[in-house]
């Protein structure tokens, strides 16, 4: 069956197409070359200048895994206020900051998203994360496995294991947990907190092992480079949320020693300690450093005002912040000598100096960053705000007068201490398409999506052009998933299920012997049961894997 999207205004930055009127053809779920005129078109969509982009990709959103279930459990009020009724096609559910899996999938699709990545999968909890994502319909998914506070890696490093051994362990983890990337959260800090250490800066030694966060960042980024894993080490840096933490963030960039790293929710890591309140924006220093170092990319983790819940593997920082919980309840958990999690509900207030400045800092970072290929649109859902605020965020980036109107309403001292008012930049649709499609696909090594070249899977979003970008992005006219229309005018018309995106770097399987011995001695699970097989993904968990290539073979 041949489908034609006729006459849309296409934004496809991966192919340098900036708002040109083009036809797009789809066959068997994929985008194909313009067929010979003789070939019959089975279905044609006259788009007549509607905006056409690839399906959007969210590279950092907490949509699966134990911590989200803890958040759901802790906030029944979040469900109660946002119910979603069952329809003939869709299941019931609800929630705003911590939506049910089905609701999350429907809402993402209704905003034109087709692929999402859970950035904090504890390898020991990977089954649950994949099960939840398998129950998040409409989307292809994937995840980043957390390493860097697991006692096994720290022990290997402390014993002076060869980089080669570490590489094998990292590769084994990617295979075993069915992940596409590796994330490090407060490097070494989750483990250090279990030893009652409450602060760990980049060059502080871990309380038990003679290694520093710097060593961990360097070793893991080296491992991913050696293994040819496309996605750089995904780094949640040290000292999240601490005034003055920009220096830790700069030191973390430095720790990569020129190898690729991705700094996530960098807004939470761009704080100075200047001024009367000892809290200030260091967005300028951060952006200057990122602009200068092409090995570094970042996503923002923009905050929005209102109620949300913060979920993080960073028990050290979540525990330190529990006094800010709103409503007043919080959970922390130490997990399996693997990592941990902390869940703290939070309400960002526009009249609160710190919250207002956090909002401004996020926008400063977006607007000062020169290269849209190295900055990604996230709210670190739900930590800065629920993902449903993306259309609003896009308007803030595209509409300077709207932005300035809101700036005038926030805490005046915060507004006065931010450069935001002086930043004239307005993002173009082309740049938005880079940030939400082309660049995430590129940085994750997904050659099959994020663009509209023949060969790509036909994940396509069509928007009604509108003066107000928020209106445009919150309700697409059509969403195609694998070549089928799944959303019309912002409503699900065909529920579908996706697959799990993974990479499979080569490694020496001899490492399993060593790991297995360690598991037998110390763990409460057998290595054999820790590992998730492809059959299990497809038949048991309910999301078959789709394997993306690694860049190069392991160096001998």
């Amino acid at each position: 069956m041949l489908i034609k999207l006729a006459g849309g205004k296409v934004y496809d930055p991966a192919n340098n197409i900036d708002g040109e009127i083009r036809d797009i053809y789809i066959r068997d779920g994929a985008i194909v070359d313009t067929p010979p005129a003789s070939e019959p078109v089975h279905r044609s969509y006259p788009l007549d200048g509607k905006i056409v982009m690839a399906g959007a990709i969210d590279l950092h959103t907490h949509i699966g895994g134990g911590k989200v279930n803890i958040a759901r459990t802790m906030l029944p009020e979040d469900q109660r206020g946002h119910t979603r009724e069952r329809t003939a096609l869709t299941r019931s559910g609800g929630g705003h900051a911590a939506p049910s899996t089905l609701t999350a999938g429907y809402r993402y699709a209704e905003m034109g998203y087709t692929t999402c990545f859970e950035p904090a999968i504890l390898p020991v909890n990977a089954r649950q994360a994949h099960m939840e994502m398998a129950d998040t319909p409409m989307l292809d998914t994937g995840g980043y496995a957390m390493l860097g506070s697991d006692e096994l890696l720290l022990q290997l490093m402390a014993e002076g294991a060869e980089q080669e051994t570490i590489n094998d362990y990292v590769a084994w983890t990617l295979h075993a947990s069915q992940c596409i990337g590796i994330k490090v959260v407060n490097p070494g800090g989750i483990s250090a907190f279990k030893f009652n250490t409450r602060e760990l800066d980049v060059d502080d030694s871990h309380p038990y092992y003679p290694i520093t966060p710097r060593d961990i960042v360097r070793t893991l980024s080296r491992a991913l480079t050696d293994l040819g894993v496309p996605h750089p080490l995904h780094v949640h840096a040290s000292n999240l949320g601490v005034p003055g933490n920009f220096s830790s963030t700069l030191a973390t960039m430095d720790a990569a020693e020129g190898l690729p790293i991705h700094l996530t929710h960098i807004q939470f890591h761009s704080y100075g300690a200047e001024g009367d309140r000892k809290f200030s924006s260091s967005a300028a220093q951060i952006v200057e450093a990122v602009n200068r170092q092409p090995n570094i990319s970042m996503d923002i983790g923009q905050i929005m005002f209102g109620q949300t819940i913060t979920v993080s593997g960073d028990t050290m920082r979540q525990h330190a912040n529990h006094g800010h919980a709103h409503p007043n309840k919080w959970t922390c958990m130490d997990i399996e000598c693997d990592a941990g999690c902390g869940v703290v509900p939070f309400r960002y207030r526009d009249q609160n100096f710190v919250n207002a400045l956090q909002w401004a800092i996020g926008l400063e970072l977006f607007l000062m960053m020169d290269d849209p290929w190295r900055v990604f649109l996230t709210t670190d859902h739900p930590n800065g705000a629920p993902f449903t605020s993306y259309p609003h965020l896009i308007r803030l980036l595209m509409d300077r007068s709207f932005r300035n109107d809101l700036l005038a309403q926030i805490n005046p001292d915060a507004a006065a201490s931010s450069h935001l008012g002086s930043l004239d930049r307005e993002y173009s649709l082309y740049e938005i398409a880079i940030m939400t499609r082309a660049a995430p696909a590129r940085i994750l090594g997904l050659a099959d999506r994020g663009h509209l070249r023949p060969g790509a899977i036909a994940d396509i979003t069509v928007y009604h052009p509108a003066d107000n970008p928020e209106k445009m992005f919150e309700k697409p006219m059509l969403v195609f998933k694998d070549g089928q229309v799944v959303v019309e005018e912002g409503r699900i018309t065909r529920p579908v299920k996706g697959s799990t995106q993974v990479v499979r770097p080569e490694y020496d399987r001899g490492i399993e012997k060593r790991l297995s011995r360690w598991f037998d001695r110390y763990h409460s699970i057998k290595l054999q049961n820790f590992r998730i097989s492809d059959d299990e993904m497809a038949e048991g968990i309910g999301s078959p894997v789709s394997i993306h290539p690694c860049d190069r073979k392991r160096t001998a």
């Binding site: 279930n69 759901r72 109660r80 504890l122 409460s524």
Partner: protein, 431 residues
């Protein structure tokens, strides 16, 4: 191990006998019969023998054998004529629960687990205040002071000592240096041998006193002027000492089994234990280790929470989930006659029978079930981890483990029955 291939010897099998989910079992089969079982405890033995003792059997309508097809038709008919069905029991694997929730959404059913009372003693604390917990591997390697409330844990979680409390090896806390404190109705002179070997400190008390004990400890730790001797001189001095031990411990673990705390407002006891742990974390490290997971309570609750956004005790009558941890207790829904159909799900134990009720009753259950009063419909289902592969959660909630298949079986999985019922209802609805 996720398998569909059955070997004579299966090793590293996960046991669903209790929430510890030991995954080191080795089973040897001979012609579909269990020949030997290694590493499992007595509870595991009884779980697997009751599984292997029952052969496959067919569905029954009011005690009379019928084909599966006829049973499904009848089940769909009962479901479609019910206005307020109750899906309870819910002892099943992850895929069983997924399919159950899909059907519940279609039928507007209410949901509760057979262990709902125990489950919600813990959940209500999470909902009200959150908590600070740890997991098995973490406790095994890190705990230097272990405080155990109650005494049933030793029977409910038979390998807890061997696997977690006093393992052969540990990364950071030598097992022989650990201190154990027992708070509960123990007789210090008559401890079970394996417990005696740990030389625990016994502070005898009634379960109902645990709550005051935790409050007193909090007061002592905070340096507030509390009178520990209000619980008696001997207990009081022991608690004063315990407060000091807790403050000095590098990583204390406080554990209980909510099922044992079977008295009114036991959630307040748990709240106090959780607050004690949270207080300790101001200066040192401490974590709670709630023991749970029996008969898949953790499993079905986890799946429910991600799919519906709420834990169990949620109803779907109005087309969207509504949660009430008190009103939706299954025993009370039946007593108040607010349910006009009971669908009882019990695929793990032949003993977990449905409650007596006037409402028509469908049982999807263990093939070894025998009824005094035959339910309206009984569909014997496969035992997860024996008749079909599946997933099940350990009691510490973070580790869903694969359950392998051990024998060829004609019994349908709960997920298959639920999906078939759902398809039939969809057909009725003309969709």
């Amino acid at each position: 191990m996720w398998n569909t291939r059955i070997e004579t010897v299966m090793s590293e099998v996960t046991c669903p006998g209790c929430g510890l989910s030991c995954d080191d079992l080795r089973l040897e089969m001979d012609n579909g019969q269990l020949k030997s079982l290694e590493n499992g405890c007595a509870l595991a033995r009884s779980h697997y023998s009751s599984a292997f003792d029952t052969a496959s059997k067919g569905a029954e309508i009011k005690g009379k054998g019928v084909s599966l097809e006829a049973a499904l038709d009848y089940g769909a008919e009962l479901l479609s004529s019910a206005h307020n069905p109750l899906f309870a029991g819910l002892a099943t694997d992850v895929n069983g629960m997924r399919a159950t929730l899909e059907l519940a959404d279609r039928c507007g059913a209410s949901l509760d687990h057979m262990n709902g009372d125990a489950l919600f003693r813990n959940i209500r604390v999470m909902q009200d205040s959150g908590w600070f917990t740890t997991t098995f591997t973490e406790a095994r390697n890190r705990a230097d002071l272990i405080v155990l409330g109650g005494k049933q844990w030793i029977d409910r979680f038979p390998r807890l000592i061997e696997r977690i409390l006093h393992p052969a090896e540990s990364l950071f806390s030598p097992p022989d240096d650990r201190q154990f404190v027992l708070l509960g109705p123990w007789d210090a002179a008559a401890l079970p041998d394996e417990l005696q070997r740990l030389s625990p400190q016994v502070i005898p008390m009634q379960l109902e006193q645990l709550s005051d004990t935790a409050s007193l400890l909090r007061g002592l730790i905070a340096g507030r002027p509390v009178n520990a001797r209000s619980l008696g001189n001997s207990v009081g001095s022991q608690l004063e000492e315990l407060a000091g031990q807790l403050k000095a411990a590098r990583y204390s673990v406080v554990s209980w089994s909510a099922a044992e705390l079977d008295f009114p407002h036991a959630e307040l006891t748990i709240q106090n234990l959780v607050d004690l742990v949270k207080d300790l974390n101001r200066t040192t490290r401490s974590a709670a280790l709630p023991l749970a997971g029996t008969l898949a309570d953790t499993t079905s609750n986890q799946v429910c929470t991600w799919q519906l956004g709420y834990p169990l005790r949620t109803g779907l009558q109005r087309g969207y989930p509504e949660h009430d941890p008190i009103l939706n207790r299954y025993q009370d829904l039946l007593k108040r006659q607010e349910a006009d159909l009971l669908l009882w799900l019990s695929s793990l134990s032949p003993q977990a029978h449905p409650p007596a009720t006037d409402a028509p009753t469908i049982v999807l259950g263990h093939p070894g079930m025998a009824f005094d009063n035959a339910p309206d419909l009984y569909i014997p289902t496969g035992i997860p981890g024996v008749d079909h592969p599946g997933h099940w959660y350990r009691g510490d909630s973070v580790c869903p483990l694969p359950l392998g298949q051990l024998r060829e079986s004609a019994l349908p999985a709960v997920s298959q029955v639920m999906t078939a019922l759902n398809d039939k209802l969809q057909h009725f609805a003309g969709l």
